[in-house]
């Protein structure tokens, strides 16, 4: 850890110009490393491992902090008038007021967090653990990062924040929960992430066009019991699977056609459609059955293998659903970024009128997005049948808002034109890791939901703010 302060220019090592920054960064890195060092010994990890991890973490943290400092410096320098171009950013006592004015939201929110932490610590004795302290520090760091750094990343700012949150979550969880980084747990997280991720493909596409699809959970539930019902009727499982996917796509198509003229109310219309579909499928499946709403039958082994935790993929002990999700994610990301159709979706979401003027059919892409949404919802429902082994209409209920939350947390704008499936993947992973963390520390589903709800707002507030009305006139 040699800190060679290259005073005049920043070299390849990305050293900030101001010496104070270097020392602050070094101190921060060492403090964090010391905490980790102590914790490592407290948990009884081997001494060599602890030392290795400490050195690595100091190096990484120091490099990261320096990088951030360099970016901050260069921005400050670019913004400052030419006469003051050479001054260091932090050494101006007269600027205390301007620092406050520039960072009041950050300062207030950090103080608020500190206050909450102190309050809880003071009132709940069992809360006073080192891991909670670390979690608190990490949260403060996230806030600082998110506010101060993300501005430098004009594009992909939300992805940057999402990745930081994801990293912080993984660090905190692996500190707090035994076996969090075990193979089985990661596999489970990925499996649930792939269900959510597949369901989110359609939501992302629709959101890129400025719409919303709330029929997804109902289609998932309907596909779930519908597929089992068809199999129970004696339809070959493969054919039934195809039929369910086709019907799902058809429902999506209907959504798209009906909501085309009512784009402002697509949210409500798809909700009504979902309601109707769920009701209809339940009526159909309960005719001649004494168990209303529940369908019984045997799921074919290949479908179980596709989605169950102990699924195999050509000998690999990975459920094929995860690989399917990865493949789909790559296809969707590439298609959105590099194909003409993908770019047209962005064009339409960004500005309807100009897209139409260059000859992009709005109706076509609008219905296409909804059709794909219905298709992937049906696919998720079918895969969930393989996972659970029994049909249940309520299996999709939690996807009503988690698909939206994943899209929003990832950073795709709900008014269209900005974002992408890559962002949504980050959002999905954040949600699933957070969920696993909350389960790991023993919180019930209700608390998870509460925390999810509260999480969405600050995430969106960091990057999804609308301009003030006076800027829109």
């Amino acid at each position: 850890m040699s800190d060679t302060p290259e005073m005049p220019r920043r070299g390849p090592l990305l050293m900030p110009r101001s010496l104070a920054f270097v020392w602050i960064n070094l101190a921060l890195a060492l403090i964090v490393a010391a905490i980790g060092f102590g914790l490592g010994f407290a948990q009884g990890v081997g001494a060599q491992l602890v030392i290795l991890y400490t050195i690595i973490s100091v190096a990484v943290l120091f490099g990261l902090l320096n990088y951030v400092a360099v970016i901050l410096e260069s921005r400050a320098a670019a913004r400052a008038p030419a006469a003051e171009a050479g001054r260091a950013p932090l050494d101006e006592p007269a600027g205390a007021r301007s620092v406050w004015m520039g960072n009041r939201v950050l300062i207030v929110s950090m103080l608020l967090l500190l206050f909450v932490y102190l309050l809880v610590t003071a009132s709940v004795p069992s809360f006073r653990t080192v891991t909670n302290l670390i979690a608190f520090l990490v949260l403060e760091a996230i806030l600082l990062f998110a506010f101060k750094v993300s501005g430098a990343f004009a594009h992909g700012r939300s992805a940057f924040i999402g990745l930081i949150v994801l990293g912080a979550l993984i660090v905190v969880s692996s500190f707090t929960i035994d076996g969090f980084l075990s193979g089985a747990n990661i596999k489970a997280i990925l499996l649930f992430a792939s269900f959510l991720g597949i369901a989110c493909i359609g939501q992302t596409l629709v959101a890129l066009l400025g719409g919303l699809d709330l029929s997804i959970p109902f289609v998932i539930g309907a596909a779930n019991i519908g597929l089992l019902y068809l199999i129970g009727l004696g339809v070959p499982a493969g054919v039934a699977f195809g039929m369910v996917l086709l019907i799902g796509a058809g429902l999506g198509f209907l959504n798209g056609i009906l909501s085309y003229r009512l784009q402002g109310q697509a949210l409500i219309l798809t909700l009504g459609m979902g309601f109707a579909v769920a009701g209809l499928v339940q009526i159909l499946t309960s005719i001649g059955s004494s168990f209303s709403g529940n369908v019984f039958g045997t799921v074919p082994p290949w479908l179980q293998n596709l989605a169950a935790m102990n699924g195999q993929f050509f000998g690999l002990a990975v459920p094929p659903t995860i690989l399917l999700w990865i493949a789909l994610a790559i296809i969707v990301i590439v298609a959105l970024r590099y194909t003409a159709n993908g770019r047209y979706i962005y064009a339409l979401g960004g500005n309807r009128r100009s897209a139409q003027l260059i000859g992009v059919s709005e109706l076509k892409y609008w219905t296409l997005a909804y059709t794909l949404s219905g298709f992937f919802a049906a696919l998720t429902g079918s895969l969930l049948l393989g996972w659970s082994g029994g049909g249940f209409i309520g299996v999709g209920d939690q996807y009503l808002f988690t698909t939206l939350a994943a899209v929003v947390i990832g950073g795709t704008s709900l008014s269209g034109g900005y974002g992408g499936y890559g962002f949504t993947v980050i959002g999905v992973l954040v949600l699933q890791v957070l969920s696993a963390f909350l389960i790991g520390i023993g919180l019930k589903y209700e608390w998870q939901q509460f925390i999810f709800g509260l999480l969405i707002l600050p995430m969106v507030a960091l990057y999804g703010r609308a301009p003030h009305i006076r800027a829109q006139v």
Binding site: L269, G272, F275, G279, A405, E446, G464, A466, I469, Q472
Partner: protein, 447 residues
């Protein structure tokens, strides 16, 4: 609804037509509806939905696509909070319960609007966040349906008479909004909802107006939660989602524009009553174990259809300009009243055949007119006319009604403004028809 021109209220035509059809079917399928306890319990069951719909309506008028999906969970949150506080013995008195319920509603909505105004996040995201958070916390407060409502509330949910405290709450809420529409604040609110930039540039303090709309919505949600608590007399954390979806459907059905600027308490009330009637009618058909699914299917379909109908409304307005909501109200009101009387008269006919006494007269008047029984022939209305006189009177009333309807149709078509007087006059005419036909049928039975 300061209905200056009939064409502005053309959105009320659809819910009005639907309500007439549904009410007709409801009366035919379940004649019990037309009675003291029938109307009483109907009001109590429909009240929470109506008030929740009012709340959504106030927000929808404010524009920016504000559909507060969290209205149901918020209602359930207030419900379980009140029940929990009551069970803990902290807050039991009526005043305190009202203060807590309204306070929570307003506090939540203030938080909501601050998020929109200061953090500048889209309303739908705030609503989504609130939905998740409230749904979660409701189950924490009260893990499963249970608990007891405050003692003084126990008699509210019986529904044995029409004049229950719930009705008073409903009337106050509706009247309060109608009074509010007279203020210039309401004008600003509609203007902001219709075009926020125009409102801003013409000097409207849009922040204050928006906060005002949310405060009103919070009050409505608080009242809705009180009615809901009185209805179920316990706490239920699970019904929030259904209530949200139903209330959204009712708002759309009631002709409130989700893009802002258009809507009113009459439409919202009509929409909510429609949804209640759909549930009532469907309940009279016995679907057995799939009852809940059929209801779900119909709610979904009605939501879609009513949304699609809003596309047709401009066309209706163009070609059917001579039909105004007022005239539709008169015509449909007469038809429905006729159906009601027919059904009830058949009942009375059979009852009279069985009993063959004069007691049925009092029963009949109390049945149709929801008036106290008049005893044997005396009292409220002079029943001692000859058959000829009665017939003459009936023809005269019918002719007056016809003339009046035509006259009003013409007047409405050329956009002459009518006031409250017309409503009173029309309702009294319909009431007269009630009395006459009821009396005639009674006269047929008695010999």
């Amino acid at each position: 609804m300061s209905g200056t021109r009939g064409s502005q209220n053309v959105y009320l035509l659809v819910p009005m037509l639907l309500i007439a059809v549904l009410l007709g079917i409801a009366v035919i399928r379940g004649p019990h509806l037309v009675s003291y306890s029938g109307f009483g319990s109907a009001i109590i069951v429909a009240a929470p939905l109506m008030l929740a719909t009012y709340a959504l309506m106030a927000l929808a008028i404010a524009g920016r696509g504000t559909v507060d999906l969290a209205v149901g969970p918020l209602l359930a949150f207030i419900n379980v909070s009140v029940v929990k506080l009551n069970m803990l013995g902290i807050i039991t008195s009526p005043f305190a319960v009202f203060a807590v319920a309204l306070g929570i509603g307003v506090a939540y909505q203030l938080l909501f609007v601050l998020m929109i105004l200061w953090v500048r996040v889209q309303p739908i995201i705030v609503a989504l966040s609130g939905f998740l958070a409230l749904t979660g916390i409701n189950l924490v407060i009260l893990p499963r349906p249970g608990g007891v409502a405050p003692d003084w509330m126990s008699s509210w949910g019986l529904g044995t008479s029409i004049l229950s405290p719930i009705l008073v709450i409903l009337v106050i809420a509706t009247g309060g909004w109608l009074l509010f529409t007279l203020s210039s604040f309401y004008g600003n609110l509609r203007m902001m909802g219709y075009d926020e930039r125009a409102a801003y540039t013409s000097g409207v303090r849009i922040e204050i107006v928006r906060v005002g709309a949310h405060v009103i919505a919070g009050l409505f949600v608080g009242l809705a939660a009180i009615c809901y608590t009185a209805l179920i007399a316990s706490g239920d954390p699970t019904q929030g989602t259904t209530m949200s979806l139903t209330a959204v459907t009712a708002v759309v059905l009631g002709g409130v524009s989700l893009s802002g600027g258009r809507g009113g308490v009459i439409g919202a009330a009509l929409g909510a009553i429609n949804l209640f009637l759909i549930g009532y009618v469907l309940a009279t058909f016995n679907f057995g174990s799939v009852q809940a699914f059929v209801t779900q299917l119909f709610y979904g379909l009605i939501l879609i259809l009513s949304l699609l109908l809003t596309l047709l409304v401009p066309i209706i307005g163009r070609y059917l300009y001579f039909i105004t909501p007022y005239s539709a109200f008169v015509v449909l009101g007469c038809i429905v009243a006729g159906i009601m009387l027919k059904m009830s008269a058949e009942d009375a006919h059979q009852a009279a055949l069985v009993m063959a006494t004069t007691g049925s007269e009092g029963e009949l008047t109390s049945r149709y007119l929801l008036l106290p029984g008049t005893g044997a022939g005396g009292g409220l209305i002079h029943f001692t006319m000859t058959a000829l006189q009665k017939q003459l009177l009936g023809f005269a009333a019918a002719a007056a009604l016809l003339v009046f309807t035509l006259r009003m149709t013409i007047a409405e078509a050329i956009s002459v403004r009518f006031g409250v007087f017309m409503y009173v006059f029309v309702s009294s005419l319909i009431l007269m028809l009630f009395i006459l036909v009821g009396d005639l049928s009674l006269a047929r039975v008695r010999p």
